[in-house]
Amino acid sequence: MSKKKNEEVMKDLKKKLKNKIIDIVQPREKRIYIRVEPEKAPGVVEYLFSKYKCKFCTATGIDMREGIEIIYHLAKEDKNMIINVKTLVPYSNLEIDSIGKKILAFRWIEREINEMLGVKFRGHPDMRRLLLADSFPKGKYPLRKSFKHSDVTDEDYDYERSGI
């Protein structure tokens, strides 16, 4: 019974998002992966969030070596499903439109991805640091694969900025 319903969601999304996405798969009964170009990802996520009545769980960023992959995790609660919108932001152009400028819930996670992986979110209203120390050197991103602990020594820290 439930399996039938879930296929409905898949078909529905396929029809509605046809020309915006690269591909859409359903690896398990309760999960859908959507792969999107970085230019179109904010639009797709906004559509799923506001029109398709999904709840926003979180967003994650992973260093895939050719770029940073951002995954938006959305929950379709009435159908008991998780929808993941994946987009690969290439290293050559590490920019993506901010969703946080319209939807408040995206702001903090975008700040975190920005400081940890160095993706720039265009139009974000408040791009301060969230978790890293204020004295942490600018232009170093600790969750990238290329980052080593020895990249940041004590001399790199700018303690003037730490507020004391």
Binding site: A133, F147, H149
Partner: protein, 143 residues
């Protein structure tokens, strides 16, 4: 020095400072104050300001955000003062040693500011309350 010994004998006032600790050590410090160990019978007492303290109890692997705060508190503590590097993290940064935000254990940070700082190490995750009392007594002998 005799007057120092006499005045320290039954009135060690401790300022408890947490520099990016996981809170386990902080909870274990409370154990010392409760009736089972009750360190106040030795005159060891937690105070609210570093300016009143004879000893600094520093928990946690010092990270970049906490380092200037630790140094500022150390500057405000009247000398001579005893610094207790508390727990595995305080002694050696523990499992967080190679993390991106850690700038070093307590002794490394303090020796930059004051090479003559008197530091006692109490390892353990968290240390046993007996070890804490023992450590503070040993530190006093060193002063």
């Amino acid at each position: 020095m005799d007057i120092l010994k006499k005045s320290f004998k039954k009135s060690i006032w401790v300022f408890h400072l947490s520099t990016a600790a996981c809170n386990n050590c902080d909870i274990e410090v409370l154990e010392l104050l409760t009736p089972r160990y009750d360190v106040e019978r030795f005159g060891i007492k937690l105070v609210g300001s570093p300016r009143h303290a004879d000893a600094l109890l520093v928990c946690g692997s010092v990270n970049a955000h906490a380092k200037p705060r630790l140094l500022e508190v150390y500057r405000q503590t009247p000398k001579p003062c005893l610094v207790v590097a508390f727990g595995s993290c305080g002694c050696s940064s523990g499992i967080f040693r190679d993390s991106y935000s850690i700038v070093g254990p307590v002794d490394k940070v303090l020796k930059e500011e004051d090479p003559d700082a008197k530091i006692v190490y109490i390892p353990g995750c968290p240390p046993k309350p007996e070890a804490m009392i023992e450590g503070i007594i040993k530190g006093l002998e060193a002063i």
